[in-house]
């Protein structure tokens, strides 16, 4: 009688990649809720629109590559890329910006490198960086004004028509610069006390943004609790950013203060949802610490000294470059060895 011959181990744990991806999407909801609450419908529409494009582009490439659609779409990785881009792009960014970002992310940054698991760069951040460089106006002038600061905030349909360009709605009345942008430019000729008078800073750190970041922080902590990723990358990234901000930005009259760095912009989204993308990150615990710290330091440097108000995308991409090298030099010490191996050569 012939039985199945399968090699060990025969038992398998309950974890599935698709579940991991799904839980990542679900845990972005607090942040998305905060975005929608404080900045209107823009991000929600963006997220849905980006997710649709992502799945469509993924399906298109899979068809071209003659891969089974159900199996690969079922891993939800395209959905994650789409959702993250939808969250990262300016709420009122026109539809074609999202289209370019997402299709580029899925087709070029992901599938041309071999598809899921083979891409050296975070696809969402590649798409984001592309549109940030290509369409700087669309990417900087479409940040929604907090709803509370508007007398007559846009409804869902208005937002939809603004994003998709129906009708002659002009968005200027509904947008303003982000807190990081405002602080960076105004502190040059003003004092901290004057700068924070700008309504964009609200009462706490930055109007709305603090809650958005707290939302992503909560989602990220849940993922951490679920063991989707380890603490190393987000903690080292936030710590490095905080240390940099404390060391060089202790004087709020000179540069952006630490709290604004941590709770404005895409910091928490970056720390818990972007930098933790395992495919493009370093592998070992030690490597993750270096990788995360690198992102934190670069984020600070680009935010303060660069010409862009936020820097998560560039920092993550730069550290993606470094990840293989970091891996090579941070191999763990294997059982029975006096010390860990370093680099590619046999150590003495």
């Amino acid at each position: 009688m012939a039985l199945m011959r399968i090699t060990s181990p025969h038992a398998h744990g309950p974890r599935k990649t698709a579940n991991l991806m799904r839980v990542v999407v679900i845990t972005t909801l607090p942040g998305l809720f905060a975005l929608t609450w404080f900045f209107g419908w823009g991000n929600l529409i963006n997220v849905i629109w980006c997710a649709l494009i992502a799945i469509a582009s993924e399906a298109l490439v899979l068809l071209i590559r003659k891969r089974p659609l159900g199996f690969y779409l079922g891993d939800y990785s395209a959905l994650v890329t789409g959702v993250l881009l939808g969250l990262a792009l300016p709420p009122l960014a026109p539809w074609w910006v999202s289209l370019v970002a997402v299709t580029f992310a899925i087709i070029i940054a992901k599938h041309l490198y071999g598809g899921m698991g083979y891409n050296p760069f975070n696809p969402a951040m590649v798409g984001f960086a592309l549109v940030l460089i290509s369409f700087p106006v669309a990417m900087t002038t479409n940040w929604a004004t907090p709803v509370a600061l508007l007398e007559n905030p846009m409804g869902f349909l208005d937002t939809l028509s603004v994003i998709f360009g129906f009708g002659a709605q002009t968005v200027d009345a509904f947008t303003m610069a982000t807190p990081l942008d405002v602080y960076k430019h105004e502190i040059a000729y003003s004092t901290a006390l004057d700068v924070v008078q700008n309504p964009v800073f609200g009462n706490f750190v930055a109007h709305g943004w603090e809650w958005v970041n707290i939302g992503f922080l909560a989602g990220g902590l849940f993922l951490l609790y679920k063991g989707v990723f380890t603490w190393h990358t987000p903690v080292s990234m936030l710590a490095a950013l905080a240390v940099m901000a404390l060391a060089f930005g202790w004087d709020a009259d000179q540069t952006t203060p630490p709290l604004l760095h941590l709770f404005a912009g895409a910091t928490m989204l970056g720390a818990f949802f972007i930098a933790t993308d395992p495919v493009t990150a370093a592998v070992s615990p030690q490597g993750k610490l270096i990788y995360g710290a690198g992102i934190g330091i670069l984020t600070y440097i680009i935010r303060v000294y660069g010409s862009y108000p936020d820097a998560i995308a560039f920092s993550v991409l730069l550290m993606n470059f470094a990840a293989p090298l970091i891996d090579l030099y941070t191999q763990p010490r294997t059982y029975g060895y006096a010390k860990a191996k370093r680099g590619g050569k046999e150590s003495e």
């Binding site: 009688m1 012939a2 039985l3 199945m4 011959r5 399968i6 090699t7 060990s8 181990p9 025969h10 038992a11 398998h12 744990g13 974890r15 599935k16 990649t17 579940n19 991991l20 199996f71 891993d75 990785s77 598809g115 899921m116 698991g117 083979y118 063991g227 989707v228 990723f229 380890t230 395992p278 495919v279 990150a281 592998v283 070992s284 891996d327 191999q331 763990p332 010490r333 294997t334 059982y335 029975g336 060895y337 006096a338 191996k341 590619g344 046999e346």
Partner: protein
């Protein structure tokens, strides 16, 4: 209280132990036929000492240990040896091997045993011999001969003797039941081992999910120095290296065995078997095996005779074969599937897991690795499994080795947690196999190269020896000549400078030559040189030199291969040399240049180009061979033969070139003299 350490990683799979741990160990019964593979242990197979048709008694040795690493095999029940043949054996590859088949008679009649009331009356060596004779090999899974293991190499002192009662694999409860029911045997077995090794401490490590076993062992070890250490349940804490880390905090250094750090690990079932072997003289003829899984009606542990066909055992216990079910020998983490049920239970069979489709569903199709790192979080060897996976998959074996692939213990924790269902362990087995194959091939080609180099060296040495002999002969000849001149006055008997026959002949020839020269000298003086033109003389010189060099080569060759012919040739060589000298002299007398205008035969250039061509071709062939070794193993042998042929061709060409070169040099030296 002993400090318990932790090891990196580990997992907590569903234990599934209660299905089989609830009932006492029951005898499995005597099957109508027993199939005993000659190799159930690591090392050399045992050597049969019975004939087909012999009646054997229970406990009688039927195959003896053969070679240093081997153990004996005994008849598990009385009966008749009905065959000795190749039968399928339990092995991951599904292979067959030599087995002794016994048709049992149901009488279960014991042979005479030699029990020993007090092991202390025996010397450690006597005990070790008894263990070897009793056929005991590690019963935890690997089956390493226990007697060898109890002989630590390099006389390492064992400080800590550990009994492994962790039994961390899900489903298996054989050791659990054994510890509950036969704790005393285990403790006494440990004492016997301690008597041999005299360790500083004895520890029994046991996972905290076996409270009854812990209580039983504590009770049994009450009056002894043995320490029962309860360790947290975590797979794979029963791995030897992991258990050592847990209990001692020490790690077995890479490339070493536990004895090197003064630790030895034995399985609890092995200890019980040692006790029975010494106390009652009972060899290892049965073991406790867990029968579990949803496809078995009566789950539990049974005392199964070694050699019991699994088919029979399953039938006895209500095997419900289902579509897609799996039969695993061992546990679900490290066991292997049996693709047929006509194999026997062997000394290492601790569990038979007949899992239903639902229990162990077939593996999901593997998705892409997202490098989530869960595998490295759980790896008890602290490897980077996902990197090893990339390297194995990409056949970058050097990198895989550099990332310590060979420290992987194949526990399966990485595959267990992999969210993409990648069969990681399978990739590591593949890579290990490939690397071992490459190493074997490398070894083979190294040997071939060494052989070739040695041959070249030998040829070179022989040549040098020949040259040295030739020089010795020449010296001897010179001496002889000098001696002869001295002796010419008093007509002394011809001196022989050396025993070497060839040298003597050479000397004799030299003498004759000297005589000839003496005769010719006046002739030359008066000879009619005018008759010969310079041109013709030069032509003569060329042909004479050519003839001389050819003859010299032939002579040298003959000296090695055909001494008789060498004697004849020697005179011819001398005369041809004389001839050359003569013509040269004539030319000099005529005032001409005595250099040969063109070298006769194939020119040096031609020979050189021949050699180059041959070498080039050889190189090409070697390259092809290298390529073939990797891609077309079937062609390798043919190519190797061709390469060998070509090597001969090259060496021939070299020889020809040398031969052509030498006379020229000689001519040159003659020139400078003249």
């Amino acid at each position: 209280m002993r400090q318990v350490w932790d090891f990196h990683g580990g997992i907590h799979p569903k234990e599934n132990k209660t299905q089989s741990s609830q009932s006492a160990i029951a005898p499995a019964g005597i099957p109508p036929q027993l199939v005993l593979p000659l190799q159930q242990h690591i090392g050399q197979p045992a050597e049969p000492i019975v004939q087909v048709g012999d009646r054997v008694l229970k406990g009688q040795m039927i195959a003896e240990a053969h070679g240093p690493v081997s153990v004996a095999i005994h008849a598990p029940s009385s009966g008749v040896v009905s065959a000795m043949e190749i039968r399928p054996v339990p092995h991951p590859s599904g292979m067959s091997d030599q087995c002794i088949i016994i048709d049992t008679d149901g009488k279960d009649e014991w042979c005479e045993l030699s029990p020993c009331e007090d092991y202390a009356a025996l010397t450690p060596n006597e005990i070790l011999t008894r263990i070897r004779q009793s056929g005991i090999a590690g019963m935890g899974g690997a089956g390493f001969p226990t007697e060898i293991k109890l002989h630590p190499p390099r006389h390492d002192k064992v400080n800590t003797l550990i009994l492994n009662g962790a039994e961390c694999e899900p489903y298996i409860t054989a050791d659990d039941r054994l510890m509950r029911e036969r704790a005393e045997e285990i403790v006494l077995g440990l004492e016997i081992m301690a008597y041999i090794l005299r360790p500083g401490e004895c520890v029994i490590g046991i996972e905290d999910n076996k409270p009854e076993a812990i209580a039983a062992l504590r009770e049994a070890a009450k009056e002894t120095q043995i320490e029962i250490v309860v360790i947290p349940t975590k797979y794979p804490s029963g791995g030897e290296k992991q258990l050592i880390k847990i209990l001692t905090g020490k790690e077995v250094p890479n490339g070493h065995i536990p004895a090197d750090i003064g630790v030895m690990c034995q399985n609890v079932a092995t200890a019980a078997a040692v006790y029975r072997a010494i106390r009652y003289g009972e060899p290892l003829i049965s073991r406790v095996t867990t029968l579990t899984g949803d496809c078995i009606a009566q789950k539990g542990n049974q005392q199964v005779l070694i050699g019991t066909p699994i088919e029979w055992l399953l039938e006895q216990n209500g095997y419900l074969a289902q579509k897609g079910s799996r039969l695993v020998m061992g546990g679900p983490m490290m066991g292997f599937t049996l693709d047929a049920i006509n194999v026997p239970v062997v000394k290492t069979t601790n569990c038979l897991l007949a899992a239903s489709y639902k229990e162990l569903p077939p593996p999901q199709p593997a998705q892409a690795c997202i490098r989530c790192g869960m595998c490295s979080e759980v790896c008890p060897a602290e490897l980077l499994p996902q990197q090893l996976y990339w390297f194995s998959r990409g056949q970058e074996f050097e990198k895989a080795e550099h990332h310590n692939l060979f420290d992987c213990i194949e526990c399966g924790a990485c595959s267990y947690v992999c969210p993409s269902s990648i069969p990681l362990v399978q990739y590591y087995r593949y890579a290990k196999g490939e690397i071992r194959q490459i190493q074997a091939d490398q070894e083979k080609s190294n040997q071939a190269r060494e052989r070739f180099e040695f041959r070249q060296e030998r040829i070179e040495r022989e040549k040098e020896e020949k040259e040295a002999k030739r020089k010795a002969r020449a010296e001897a000849a010179a001496k002889a000549q000098a001696a002869k001149k001295e002796a010419a006055a008093n007509k002394a008997p011809e001196p022989v400078a050396s025993n070497d026959k060839a040298a003597a002949i050479q000397a004799a020839l030299q003498r004759t030559e000297a005589k000839k020269q003496a005769k010719e000298a006046p002739q030359k003086a008066t000879g009619d040189t005018q008759a010969v033109t310079l041109e013709s003389l030069q032509k003569k010189l060329i042909s004479a030199e050519d003839k001389y060099s050819k003859m010299q080569a032939a002579w040298q060759d003959a000296q090695v291969n055909n001494p008789e012919r060498a004697e004849k040739l020697a005179s011819a060589v001398t005369s041809s040399k004389d001839n050359v000298e003569k013509i040269k002299q004539q030319i000099t007398e005529l005032g001409g240049d005595n250099t040969a205008a063109v070298p006769a035969g194939p020119s040096i250039e031609e020979l050189k180009s021949n050699l180059e061509k041959a070498t080039g071709k050889l190189q090409l062939m070697l390259d092809t061979l290298e390529d073939a070794k990797q891609n077309h193993p079937d062609r390798v042998e043919k190519l190797e033969r061709a390469v060998e042929k070509n090597r001969t061709r090259v060496s021939l060409a070299e020889a020809a070139l040398r031969d052509a070169d030498n006379p020229q040099k000689q001519t040159e030296s003659t020139e400078s003299e003249g």
